[in-house]
Symmetry: D2
């Protein structure tokens, strides 16, 4: 998490202030539940809420932690300073630190997921707008980097929309994975705390109770969460790579928006580089890498060990902040992407019509040539077109077998671009609804 | 995928025979659909089904591929040899190789997922049986490898059950991710094939049509699939690690079943090593590692490049075969695990009752001591117990502040194990239903 | 390790036959050393060598292992069947299975490293040949995929040569990492075997004795070995990516060799796809991923656990076989790469001379303009050239500030390509020697 | 890089101040070299050094970058503000931003490597001290977590010393990998800058010139650097895991130092948890994960793309700061580790002498029993000892075949611990010298 690649709202989720605020809410709600059960006096539960509007003093808590070497105890001590040591004496009763830490971490992750969902929604909106705008903007489709057959730029956007729609569904599932809380005590047996406390706290904070916690909430949930972020990052990389390719000097079918004051290079003033999408490619690598330690965190020893903690202090903020930034940056790129339809058309025409070869091949087969003969015929004309820079239709027209089979008009009809785009509406209906 | 860690049913999914069989079905169903549409003669579509019971000659197909360097063309040529070149001339019309390859790969993955789901079900059954068997078998809960408070061995099994229940749900979702097919032609525009063909083939084979394919089915789906396997592998590692810990010489609360003829070590005949769960730990590392190339496969260039293919030829079989083997091995381990309740009880008593310290602490607080005072009191007795091998209850009983606050009987009551297990039924109800 | 991506020599290193042969040599040399020490009778040591030319019966060994569940004991039993049970009775005395297994594994890895070194040498030779061939073949250098300034194709090859020279040095170091053996007994204390045996076996087999083995040879060595392969794979990916880019339809400055019978696509006969380098990209992902489990193998429990074993049974063959195949394939690609100098020149000229902008900028600064003014002047002409498809030199010549500062001849001289290639010899001398 | 896991000296390497200071030095030395070559006036080169003691204004540079969106240009503009715009006009002449950025990054990495080397030296010193201190402190060696044969605690430390000695050698090699600089211009051709400038700058800053840079220094170097850190982190994990195991309640052969004020748990005052080594386990996972994006950074497009940059802005600081902290923490753990020799001895004796089984087995074989018979004899006694808690020596003494073969005294002699430690000096000499 570095400022350059961070946005304030997501950063705020990971601030000490937010963390202590969440800890407080967990403790206060737990006191309410214990008062309901008659385990602690109602007055003490109510007293804790005096800190509702208090500002927790991060420096003071750090100071206490320097002695106790225990963050939750440090916080509770500070809370006692605010609420009154005597009033606060029942706070955290029967609980263990992880009840607070794990429940709070999951709240932070669900809030992060909510921001990420909003990010994806914004990206989807941009993709949809550009898809509709360029539904019929024909460009060449490429497999292996080699011209294949015509597609439209709108289809590229629609594909990305479908992919990020899946990303959204995955993130919703991932959010559900980590939307649990646990207030179950030292080894998860509720030995000194009633399960009703857990139920109350979770309900108050929008979580489900963890079915079996063992001091900690099991880390397979978090592994799944971060793995999901990693897959989403990989989709970001895909779309970023597409833009980078389209912006190559020789292709130049689209370009990242280039603001007036911006300098592409200290040495080559003409350069307009796809630096945003290159940046996204790198950020995707980072988010992806963070799935690994999250997975290695699953196999904690017995009821718990704390090896996951240092990992999560890093990847909790880093993965969510970086992905939030990346999604927002990608949305900006798509939103403002400069598209060059003429260049798309020029590139499409570059191979002398070879992109229609498959259609000719099919027509010849249907007109009675064997598949092998048709293939050889088309390949011969195609090779000549490519190697000598000829026009494919002309080459084919010069072959008596072709004109014999298809007729001149029949051949010409095969070079109609509309043929390739006639199912675009069908595909769009699949993605955006009818 | 090596024989040592493979089971035949999963291996069979990845055999050339299975692959060619699936390819055949895709092509034959596509012909049916094209005949329905009147695009090809019904007779030709019917002729293709002559190969329904044929054995495809893998060696012959390899031979053709050695010349054409293209596997699908090699297969189609061989299919022509079976069906008749003329009858087969409309096979694959308007399709591209990836229509066959990607759809077939997804069918293999869904079948693999079905086997894995059955594996998980078997594991869940074993876990449930052992959980119920040992619901009340008390053992010490450990955090950081250090004794904490009592749990039961059944709770450990219930936790694992809850975790693999989540694994199951994730795998169901992952299966849905890759249960799509595409018959959309060279760049996914249906330029030379009607979308109805795709719909027919997918319906016949239990798949959904891919909303936007671009010659290939987008690889974010597969990334999610393999990431899910990686998370499941991590859960295997967790349970395997638990067994390894429990089997340590000093702990020995449970042991992998050791068959009569088995030799633990060529040098130390007394050794009974947790080799199965150690093996599972290694296998988990392997399955986990395969999520990475699957994620790197997402960012294909433009409409497709073929860099994903070599990766999938490896991880398709390797990840599913290894995970299938690992799940089955783990089920065997759990099923036959030798559990030592007496040893569990002996270990629990080892610390002179210190595992009850939290309860004493709470009782003192509730009896009126300040949290800090109670903590100091308990810590003093605890330290003495630990360092000098004393009995915790005796130490506490010797402290007038304690007996003054709790009374001798009150103190004794705090050392009741039943206190720790009274919510086990609640937890079991969460996992296994009421 | 799948046949499609395997070469026989490397595969042979990992065959059961090779493994048993190496095990035999370790045991036989150990017997010699023990006879030298007078620990076992000379006759028994000599008897073992009767198996020197024997064929070990893999099926028989598997059969025995099915009962004993221990591979080394199974082998030793079979060895007894060959040599005579009585003669073989001192074989393996004082040793532990890992003495054989780990030493043998390292021998396999060193042999694999030797093949890989030969692979790299072949690649280096191909790169050097193509570098010298195209030392002066000018093409555009690209940063961010955007035209920058002229380079030569030979420089690209020289860069790759320098990179694989580093790969070679790293592999030499990695080979040294795993060229150790251990014959140190159950926990590495030489309790029942003299260190002289280890010294003898290692000397006979080209290894160094492991300074401190603990039954096993420490796995940080193997982690470093596989991490090194992963880095080499990443360099393969870089060069493969370069070829893929150069072969793009719009760039087409180079092309993988396309054999006469080869079909690029079942649908588009004109297509010549960079399938080899795409394949290499995928293979690189696989080799890279295998570094991870190798690293996770380091933290074995206490003196050893066997979790590393299943990982190594997979990545030992898989990483070396795949990398061997990939290096050989890459060598073939480079060796036969079809290079198009005219197309390189055409692409270079495509931007109307903008690739010379930096030189003009510098000249203006040196002629007295402030850096900011010079930058603005050049940028203005550059933008016009780019956006309106003009000629950069003409645009600049029309600017009085430019001609005033440089003169017409002075300006023209800045567009000399030779300027950019005058240090190529210097760079080549760095890479290939003077 | 979070404060909790950071040490100031390493953090300082990555501060903006340090970075700008290094940039300045590169530019100033380059000016010197250009003045030597007569390319720029000597006075201008000298003027630049006016900034030698200046404080660069980070906020001001950020402000400029906000407009130019280019960090090096922003810095150069600010440098002009310090030195004088006119005096600074030749600064950076013929150079490209990456000349500064890449050279500076490598300087930061070499400095980081130097700190890490010092960290390892400190760790080695601690390990050596503890190794010598406990050279003869006998404890049980464990394979698979199961008691095997005696080792000494000193041997454990010696093993770790040997491992970190290798880590040191690897780090020295990794440092050499990234100790290169490049001042070669826009695409590495020295088009507008003499190679002598590069030579001068590199010599002044302790680097070697990069043989072939292509605007950027090739990233295989950095991949190797971070992969090396990842392997070192894995060795940290191994030693940390050893401590965690030794501190388990049931084992308790060693313990992290527990400071007086420290509270192990808010709930269980008796707990002393191995939190430092658990923390190190997590930190190791993080450093390990960062090798991946570093490897993915290798395959930059053509002469360069900037996707590596965001990755390096994160892992440059994060990996080095975290590893520095982890090494220092580990040194502290080892240095202050509380070792319990009596407990080691008690654990060793726990299995009734079974740890001597291998020796007995050997002695029986040497006394004439067949290997199979000896094995069966020992296994029988061993199983009884283990299952019924008997004494192994007594069980063996009751077997006439054993006493017949070895005699009572002969049998007793096999239970001498000294036998297992007699080669410790040999092993120590390998690690620490004679």
């Amino acid at each position: 998490m570095i400022p350059r690649y961070s946005r304030p709202e997501m950063v705020a989720i990971w601030s000490p202030e937010t963390r202590f605020r969440i800890w407080f809410e967990i403790e206060a709600h737990a006191c309410d539940a214990m008062a309901d059960l008659g385990v602690i006096p109602r007055a003490n539960a109510e007293a804790v809420w005096k800190a509702r509007d208090a500002q927790f003093d991060t420096a003071r808590i750090d100071e206490i932690e320097a002695v106790t070497k225990h963050d939750v105890i440090a916080f509770l001590t500070h809370l006692g300073e605010i609420v009154g040591v005597d009033e606060a004496r029942f706070v955290h009763q029967g609980m263990t630190s992880s009840d607070v830490l794990d429940t709070a971490f999951n709240i932070q992750l669900t809030r992060a997921a909510d921001l990420l969902l909003a990010d994806i929604d914004a990206l989807l909106a941009a993709l949809k707008r550009r898809a509709l705008e360029h539904k019929d903007t024909v460009c060449v489709g490429r497999s292996h980097g080699i011209h294949a057959e015509p597609v439209t730029f709108g289809l590229k956007m629609a594909q990305a929309h479908a992919e990020f729609d899946r990303a959204r569904a995955r993130l919703v599932a991932a959010r559900a994975e980590i939307a649990t809380g646990a207030i179950s005590g030292a080894v998860g047996t509720f030995a000194n705390i009633d399960p009703a406390v857990e139920a109350h706290v979770c309900a108050a904070l929008g979580l489900s109770p963890e079915p079996v916690s063992t001091q900690v909430i099991p880390r397979d949930r978090h592994a799944m969460f971060f793995a999901t972020l990693a897959v989403i990052a990989s989709s970001i990389e895909r779309l970023a790579t597409e833009v980078r390719h389209l912006q190559r000097t020789e292709v130049l079918e689209a370009e990242e928006y280039f603001s007036p004051g911006q300098k592409g290079s200290s040495a080559m003033p003409h350069k307009r580089n796809p630096v945003l999408t290159e940046n996204l490619t790198g950020l995707a690598r980072m988010v992806r890498s963070m799935a690994l330690p999250a997975m290695e965190n699953v196999a904690l020893w017995h009821e718990r060990d704390i090896s996951h903690s240092s990992v999560e202090r890093m990847i909790g903020p880093d993965a969510t902040v970086t992905l939030d930034f990346a999604l927002a940056r990608l949305t900006g790129v798509i939103d403002k992407l400069v598209v060059y339809p003429e260049r798309m058309r020029a590139n499409l025409d570059r191979l002398g019509g070879l992109v229609h070869s498959q259609r000719v091949l099919l027509a010849l087969t249907q007109a009675g040539l064997s598949r092998e003969d048709a293939y050889a015929t088309v390949q011969r004309a195609a090779m000549k077109t490519w190697e000598e820079g000829r026009d494919f239709q002309t080459e084919l027209a010069a072959d008596a077998r072709v004109t014999g089979a298809l007729g001149a008009d029949g051949l010409a009809a095969l070079f109609d671009l509309g043929h390739h785009t006639r199912h675009v509406d069908t595909i769009f209906a699949r993605v955006f609804g009818a």
